[in-house]
């Protein structure tokens, strides 16, 4: 190893100096860049999962149950299910990796230790991780919709809103997952998360069946479930019929959830990575 004296030393110096207290795009992009590079290697598998899973759900539930149900809450079952699965897959694509990968990167790979020795602060780290998952959700969230169209869902201009809703919901769930990953202390406790939190979240959201038949208290609890609001938004934009007030409410809840989780995730992650 010999240092090349071929250039002035200042040449590659960082030009935009890190400013405390501000979220800097470069730092966030650096964090996203890691995931983007990894995605370059894993996109086939990711895409495979993103296509096959909703296809299987739609095949089995759509034909198996659809034949028995016919229409549900005014929708044909395939329409109801197809839009529900968009939201479910957004949640799976964002919250699951947020819990698992973030935990592994923090505890076992020491990835964050390396990143945080560079001019990146914890909030930028959290934002970058969540942003990546949200972008991925925005793209892959559309896949089940396209699959559902193949199964007979009526296409319409409102579908163009779905990537944005998927992004928003994906951002919310990613931050939620990152917060959880910073709360838990072992891989074992992930069982609690997946069974105790994940399952009720995706069951009680009006994804596979409408909430109307459930006990009142469950219906009320579902109002706090971001997935419910994502489902309502997606269904509303694909089929229309969602009033401006209701749409604003759902978007508002998702945004509020994002703000809350952004603070919680940053706070808890900081407690874990700064001694």
């Amino acid at each position: 190893m010999s240092i090349q004296h071929d250039r002035a030393r200042d040449d590659a110096r960082p030009e935009v100096h890190a400013r405390p207290g501000r979220i800097e795009a470069d730092a966030v992009i650096g964090v996203v860049a890691r995931e983007w590079i990894l995605y370059g290697q894993s996109w086939r598998a990711t895409t495979f999962a993103a296509v096959v899973e909703p296809t299987l759900y739609l095949l089995c539930f759509g034909f198996g149950m659809g034949a028995l149900i016919g229409t549900l809450a005014g929708f044909s079952y395939i329409d109801f299910l197809g839009t529900g699965i968009v939201a479910v897959s957004v949640m799976f694509q964002s919250m699951m990796p947020a819990v698992i990968n973030t935990f592994i990167k923090r505890r076992f790979l020491h990835t964050y230790e390396g990143i945080l020795a560079a001019p990146v602060d914890v909030r930028e780290l959290v934002t970058g991780e969540a942003l990546w998952l949200a972008m991925r959700s925005g793209v892959y969230g559309c896949v089940p919709l396209l699959v559902a169209v193949g199964f007979g869902l009526r296409p319409g201009p409102g579908m163009l809103l779905v990537p944005f809703i998927a992004f928003l919901a994906g951002f919310a769930f990613a931050l939620f997952g990152i917060w959880i990953s910073a709360v838990i202390t072992s891989v074992r406790s992930m069982d609690y998360v997946f069974s105790g939190l994940f399952t009720p979240l995706f069951l009680v959201a009006g994804t596979f069946f409408p909430l109307t038949e459930l006990p009142a208290w469950v219906q009320n609890a579902a109002m706090a479930n971001p997935l419910y609001h994502a489902v309502e938004l997606i269904r509303g934009s694909v089929f229309g019929g969602l009033g401006a007030g209701a749409a604003l409410l759902h978007v508002g809840v998702l945004l509020g959830f994002i703000v809350l989780m952004w603070f919680l995730a940053g706070f808890q992650m900081r407690r874990r990575v700064v001694g």
Binding site: M1, S2, I3, Q4, R7, A8, R9, D10, D11, A12, R13, P14, E15, V16, H17, A18, R19, P20, D26, A27, I29, G30, V31, A33, R34, I37, L38, L109, H110, T111, E113, G114, I115, L116, A117, A118, P119, V120, D121, V273, V274, G275
Partner: protein
């Protein structure tokens, strides 16, 4: 090639702070009365350390002395309970991000991204370190050359040998041509050839005026590379100076080693110490420091000495009470 103009605002980034270069008399590192506790354990206990710009400072200390904890506090990955820390004049942790942009960090425990290749690891850090877009490619190529990994760009980190990983870890910290480099035991586990190569890198950094804080257990390394060494024990700096000065002050020029006969090392040691000499024991061998000052009358009663030049290791053992490699 561009020459940075102090105070210049960068094109296209009106809101960014000027590129400010601290005046040369501001210390690169300043720690005053720094304390770090973990529960009941005080890992760093009133540490005072000042490192001027452009100096290579070797941080020597036994296991658990608090070297790594100190390094972590400099990157704000660990927060001090008491005391003041400044890097190039900027307070830490308040302005730690600013400091980290000018600092390269080689941690004691490898935190390379095993899922990525050599080239990808460097590319990612070129973003994190804000290497300007136009220079990223070149910075990565230069780092790979420096680590002699030019042809291993596509190898996954997981598939590198231990020595290659360490080289990569080191050049990753140099991607952005930092003004200050922290190295926590950078040569542990390297074969002699690679270690020498690395010494070359550190010397070159010094020639470029980079400030280096390097902890090590290899005394020879500290002696060779450091402008100054600081000896750390129990969370504080116990002594500090150039290797030559420290050796002269604590161990004189000559050490005499005695292998005691029947009467045993204890008796011999007591006899020497009564005359105010410092000794150290290695197995049954008794070493007398500053032996050039031994009066002949005393030396005659000790036996036949083996003479050697005093080293920094003698100083280390004397001051920390611990032995090293």
């Amino acid at each position: 090639m561009t020459t940075p103009v102090p105070g210049r605002r960068l094109p296209g980034s009106a809101s960014s702070t000027p590129v400010d270069t601290p005046p040369p008399d501001v210390p690169a590192l300043l720690l005053r009365g720094v304390v770090k506790r973990f529960g009941t354990l005080t890992a760093v206990d009133g540490l005072d350390l000042e490192v001027p710009q452009g100096v290579v400072l070797g941080l020597l200390g036994p296991n658990g002395a608090g070297k790594s904890t100190t390094m972590k506090m400099l990157t704000a990955q660990s927060l001090a309970d008491e005391g003041e820390i400044r890097i190039l004049g900027h307070p830490i942790p308040a302005e730690s991000k600013w400091a980290r942009a000018r600092m390269g960090v080689v941690p004691q425990h490898d935190n390379l991204d095993e899922e990525l290749t050599v080239e990808q690891n460097l590319r990612m850090f070129s973003f994190l370190y804000r290497v300007p877009r136009a220079r990223r490619k070149e910075a990565v190529a230069r780092a790979m050359r420096l680590a002699q990994l030019g042809d291993r760009g596509d190898t996954l980190v997981d598939d590198l040998s231990g020595g290659m990983r360490r080289r990569l870890l080191i050049v990753r910290a140099l991607l952005h041509r930092p003004e200050l480099v922290l190295m926590d035991e950078p040569t542990v586990g390297l074969d002699p050839q690679v270690r020498q190569d690395l010494w070359g890198v550190i010397s070159a950094l010094r020639d470029e005026g980079v400030t280096v804080l390097m902890s090590t257990h290899y005394i020879e390394e500290a002696e060779r590379l450091s402008d100054e060494v600081a000896l750390m024990a129990k969370g504080a700096v116990v002594e500090r100076g150039t290797p030559a000065d420290l050796v002269a002050k604590y161990a004189g020029s000559t050490v005499e080693e005695y292998t005691p006969g029947d009467e045993g090392a204890d008796v011999l040691e007591r006899r020497v110490r009564e005359h105010g000499f410092t000794t150290r024991r290695t197995g049954v061998t008794l070493s007398v420091l500053r032996a050039e000052e031994l009066p002949d009358s005393l030396r005659d009663r000790l036996g036949t000495p083996h003479r050697r030049a005093s080293t920094l290791e003698d100083v280390f053992v004397t001051l920390t009470g611990e032995s090293v490699e």
